[in-house]
């Protein structure tokens, strides 16, 4: 375990615990949707947290959305159901919402606000940090350039995840995206360097939450993982907080405790719907499909927290999981996500139906930072070329398959028929693997060559002659099709 380094000098003093005896305001003048108006306030800042005590002693939490002279509009995280104008007392916390930062989060299972769901004590820390985060200065970022090995051939071989990258999984209801996310969380490895997984479940069912919790149990037990669980029946406003909480903890583990941190957020579509609901309650102008115009910037305020920084050993890598409503990739949530992230892993129904796990649709999937994170010294020198070649062949195989639908496979030229065989073998032997099977990178790449070598060498034009000579596994009678020079 690495010791936490001293707090950053360039990150402003963080607000500490609520003041011992804050002033309580009892003049609530209106309640509408999740918003209440408190009057007679003094010295309250925008975006400040609030604690709202109901007449029956129940405590709810809020944030200041608008402050006008002595009026403050407060958004209540748990909703306003059951609240009355009289008897509500509101105290303000002196600053924006914050969370303790400590390595003690590791090994814990918490709810969407960071309260323990396991048997352990509340998480306390000597320092707190605002959960909205502060943008990383782009001039101190360094480009992500080392891989995270997930043990999954489709990802490691063809869409390699790179430390500091944000690479979402696009799926549709009914596909095993949560299983895949959990498998990545369990297997991910950075060649023995200090590592941690932060998993935030957003608006998932209790059943899904339980299964993720179970899968991650062992890793949490080794103090390498923390889970934040916001279930489908938790308050929607809390759903907006959970990923920020998770990312704040991740940033601390990465940039102050020198760990490589992998953050998984599932399901971001639930998050975006919560944002839409809250935005509508605030009376904001809707744009595409009712989502607020700032959806892109809001998602970016989460996703851009991934990265690497100069002079710091750690990294934050982000894998958001989202389901595309009706499988529509042009829906605002996947669309805007795709514009922010560095590639995407797309899961396909037809592959799932054919029994391929993980059902990764190669044509839609891409890891944009793969180039920098693969090759000699990082993975293997033939890796980038092999991956380009497999993609290009799959694209051609797809065209051949479309043609075969019309004219029949038998009417295809021999070259096209070979492509169809190639595609079937790729799916069966390379893409498919078990949910608990972790493959080494060597195995993945060797499998890739085994599949590519079914085709004549002359058709592998994306691979250099040297690589072909070294890796191509010529079969008997290959001379009939082409040759390696």
């Amino acid at each position: 375990m690495t010791a936490a380094r001293k707090p950053d000098e360039d990150r402003g003093e963080d607000p500490v615990e609520l003041p011992p005896q804050p002033i309580e305001y009892s003049s609530t003048t209106s309640i509408r949707g999740p918003l209440i108006v408190v009057e007679g306030v003094e010295g309250i800042g925008w975006n400040e947290v609030a604690e709202i005590r109901l007449a029956n002693g129940e405590v709810r939490h809020g944030v200041v959305l608008d402050v006008h002279l002595d009026h403050a509009i407060v958004e209540v995280l748990e909703g306003t159901a059951g609240m009355r104008l009289d008897g509500v007392r509101t105290a303000f916390g002196g600053g924006p919402m914050s969370v303790p930062v400590t390595e003690d989060w590791l090994g814990r299972v918490c709810d969407g606000r960071g309260e323990p769901l396991d048997e352990g004590p509340p998480i306390l820390g000597s320092r707190r940090r605002e959960i909205t985060g502060t943008p990383i200065n782009p001039a101190v970022r360094i480009p992500p350039s080392e891989p995270i090995i997930t043990g999954i051939s489709a990802i490691d071989g063809l869409a390699t995840l790179v430390r500091g990258q944000k690479l979402p999984i696009f799926s549709v209801g009914g596909l095993p995206h949560l299983e895949l996310a959990a498998q990545i969380a369990v297997q991910a490895d950075v060649a023995g360097e200090p590592f941690a997984v932060v998993f935030a479940a957003l608006g998932v069912t209790h059943a899904d939450a339980a299964s993720v919790r179970q899968t991650l149990e062992a890793r949490a037990g080794e103090r390498e993982a923390v889970l934040f669980i916001n279930t489908a029946d938790d308050p929607v406003v809390e759903r907006l907080m959970t990923p920020r909480l998770a990312l704040t903890v991740a940033e601390h583990l990465a940039f102050e405790c020198d760990r490589h941190v992998l953050v998984l957020l599932a399901d971001v579509t639930n998050y975006a719907e919560a944002l839409r609901q809250v935005s509508a309650a605030r009376g904001e102008v809707p744009t595409r499909r009712g989502y607020p115009g700032y959806l892109y910037s809001d998602l970016a305020s989460l996703f851009e927290r991934a990265g690497r920084m100069r002079d710091r050993a750690g990294s934050v890598t982000l894998v958001p999981v989202l389901t595309m409503p009706a499988g529509d990739i042009t829906h605002p949530v996947p669309d805007l996500t795709g514009y922010i992230t560095e590639g995407q892993l797309v899961l396909a129904k037809d592959l799932h139906a054919r029994g391929v796990y993980p059902p990764l649709d190669l044509m839609g999937s891409l890891s944009r930072l793969m180039r920098r994170g693969t090759g000699a010294h990082l993975t293997r020198e033939d890796h980038p070329e092999l991956s380009d070649q497999l993609y290009a062949l799959t694209a051609r195989a797809l065209q051949a398959a479309e043609l075969a639908e019309i004219v029949g496979a038998d009417a295809l030229p021999a070259a096209d028929q070979r492509l169809l065989t190639f595609r079937a073998t790729l799916e069966r032997e390379f893409l498919s693997q078990g949910q608990e099977e972790a493959r080494t990178l060597e195995t993945t790449l060797d499998l890739g060559w085994q599949v590519a070598s079914q085709l004549p060498a002359a058709e592998l034009t994306m691979v250099s002659r040297q690589t072909l000579a070294a890796r191509y596994r010529a079969k008997e009678g290959d001379a009939a099709h082409g040759h390696v020079r």
């Binding site: 006008h68 943008p135 782009p138 101190v140 904001e284 115009g293 851009e304 042009t330 590639g343 043609l403």
Partner: protein, 575 residues
């Protein structure tokens, strides 16, 4: 002048209402609260004003102070911009902390640094607007020229001797006014020039799909619409690295931090093949990533074009690259929504179209006030939501730009990069470039372009027929067209951004590669015409044609000529 001060009465996110301010102007820059956050005045009412703040207002309270600055949002222009990295308001990022805490960024220029100034005029001379008073070696690549302000003319009353000066020190007095190395300019106001000139010289980008098929001229405008993952940013970055402009202003507007980190590293390492200096020395980078304050993103585009105009006024050809204008339009929309402006299409304010048009109009080839010929070229990425090319930003932009490089998702999926679609892209500069090439002795340029486009279109048509009938039933000539079009795509239009040989292609190599494919096409057609069985032609291994772009040096035309002779020989042996 006594500057006005007032008090905050309301804070609603970035929108702040203030009372007690007098003599404020709309658009004036103010500082807000104890952290002195920058803000811009949106509207005025008696005794009060509405201000939008450029940074996060968390914790800002009614009762905090607000102060006027007396000037609109302005860029600080002077030596030291080249090689620098700035935010959307042109505040220096390199020396700032790891995290961008609100209220912590300083100005654009280093006030302490001393620059070597060499005078070019003598005391007593009469000088007019934008006349060069002296020079400063800003970088090894670019000489900074200190100009007489645009509205000033008269006698040089004092001119400093050669020596070292900070940006704030006077180096001359002209008609009673002190001139310093640096000055401010309001970013939303175009800098004046003497007049517009016809453009002619092509902007050589080193990218074959651009230079051969959809070229543009210095001083022109281009847009790159494309869904996510189609390679907009990669294409624009390639152009930023390899195009033959003097100065590049790269504006990363609402885009990814990692991408910019990669670009900055490349700029610092790569050499400009023309000057031999590092690319950084001709580049100003403005970065407002998607998680940085939204309103500074809106300003970043104007800041970028103002910096480019500044170098234009010194006589340079500057290129502004704005990635992405859609994120800028979103910031515009956000700012309009917060001030309760009535939305038009998709929530965008009604002025979207006129604002876009006015922005692209700042491009052009100009006669500067100082009498030089110089240009500003604007290249903008467009990120249509859902790949919908009919959405307002894409649709309006297409109307205002001269060249469109439309990126195609199918091509990108097949790893055909740059994924510039030959059916949806266009260039209104193609004729001007053809005329310029002809005058330079490259009479074949226009013919080859026509032939290449014809080949691509024919292949598209034939392929759609083959979808129905199968390839086997096509006539031999059409099957040859399919082969040649594939060679054209793989051997000419595809270009690797990573390959040392291929990433930047000299015009001579571009021409040779295209000529190679067209000659092979002719030879194959002739062979088929003489009765060679099409199966034998299809069995020919032509993969060398696809590989040569990557295997020979960026200007090795001879290797291509040798390959052409070799292939023609092999085709000859078929018949």
């Amino acid at each position: 002048m006594e500057l006005s001060a007032g008090t905050i009465t309301r804070v609603n996110g970035p929108i702040v209402e203030v009372a007690g301010m007098r003599r404020l102007g709309v658009g004036e820059l103010v500082t807000v609260g104890s952290r002195r956050l920058p803000g811009e005045v949106l509207s005025l009412a008696s005794g009060g004003a509405t201000v939008q703040v450029y940074e996060d207002t968390s914790g800002l309270r009614p009762g905090e102070a607000i102060a006027a600055t007396g000037h609109p949002l302005s860029a600080e222009l002077g030596p030291g911009l080249l090689g620098g990295v700035f935010d959307g308001m042109l505040r220096r990022l390199q020396d700032a902390g790891s995290w961008l805490e609100p209220g912590t960024l300083a100005g654009a220029l280093d006030p302490e640094r001393r620059w070597r100034f060499t005078p070019s005029v003598r005391a007593g001379e009469d000088v007019g607007p934008h006349r060069v008073l002296g020079t400063v070696p800003e970088t090894d690549a670019i000489t900074y020229r200190v100009l007489v302000p645009h509205e000033l003319a008269g006698k040089v009353e004092m001119i400093a001797d050669e020596g070292e000066f900070t940006v704030g020190e006077a180096i001359a007095t002209v008609a009673g006014r002190e001139i310093t190395l640096a000055h401010r300019w309001p970013v939303r106001r175009p800098r004046p020039a003497a007049g517009r000139l016809r453009s002619g010289r092509p902007l050589v980008t080193g990218q074959r799909a651009v230079d051969l098929l959809f070229p543009l001229c210095h001083g022109s405008t281009a847009a790159v619409p494309g869904g996510f993952g189609t390679g907009k940013t990669l294409l624009l970055q390639q152009i930023a690295k390899w195009c033959d402009a003097d100065v590049i202003v790269y504006v990363g507007c609402g885009e990814r931090g990692n991408e910019l980190a990669e670009l900055l590293e490349d700029f610092a390492e790569l050499e400009d093949p023309r000057s031999g200096h590092r690319l950084m020395e001709r580049t100003v980078t403005i970065v407002n990533t998607s998680n940085m304050p939204l309103l500074a993103r809106e300003a970043s585009i104007y800041t970028g074009v103002t910096v480019a105009e500044h170098y234009r006024d010194m006589g340079y050809d500057a290129v502004v690259i704005a990635d992405s204008t859609s994120r800028w339009a979103e910031a515009l929309r956000e700012s309009a929504a917060r001030t309760d402006e009535l939305p038009a299409e998709e929530g965008y304010p009604p002025e979207l179209s006129s604002t876009l048009a006015a922005f692209y109009e700042r491009a052009g080839r100009f006669r500067t006030l100082g009498g030089e010929e110089a240009s500003v070229t604007i290249l903008g990425a467009v990120s249509p939501p859902g790949g919908d090319l009919a959405e307002p930003v894409t649709a309006h932009t297409r109307r205002f730009v001269r060249t469109v490089w439309s990126l195609d998702r199918q091509l990108a999926y097949a790893r055909h990069h740059p994924a510039i679609s030959w059916t949806d892209s266009s260039s209104r500069d193609a004729e001007a470039v053809a005329a310029w090439e002809a005058a330079e002795g490259n009479a074949g340029w226009a013919g080859r372009r026509r032939e290449a486009l014809q080949l691509l279109f024919d292949a598209e048509r034939i392929a759609s027929v083959a979808q129905l009938t199968g390839v086997e039933s096509l006539p031999a000539a059409e099957r040859v067209t399919l082969i040649s079009a594939m060679l054209l795509r793989e051997g000419v239009l595809q270009q690797s951004a990573l390959s040392l040989n291929d990433r930047n292609c000299a015009p001579s190599k571009q021409a040779a590669l295209l000529a190679l494919v067209l000659e092979v096409h002719r030879a194959l057609l002739a062979s088929a015409g003489q009765g060679t069985a099409i199966e034998r032609i299809e069995a020919l291994d032509l993969s060398d044609v696809a590989r040569i772009r990557d295997e020979c040096a960026p200007d090795d035309v001879d290797a291509i000529a040798r390959l052409q002779a070799d292939i023609q020989g092999r085709i000859g042996q078929l018949g």
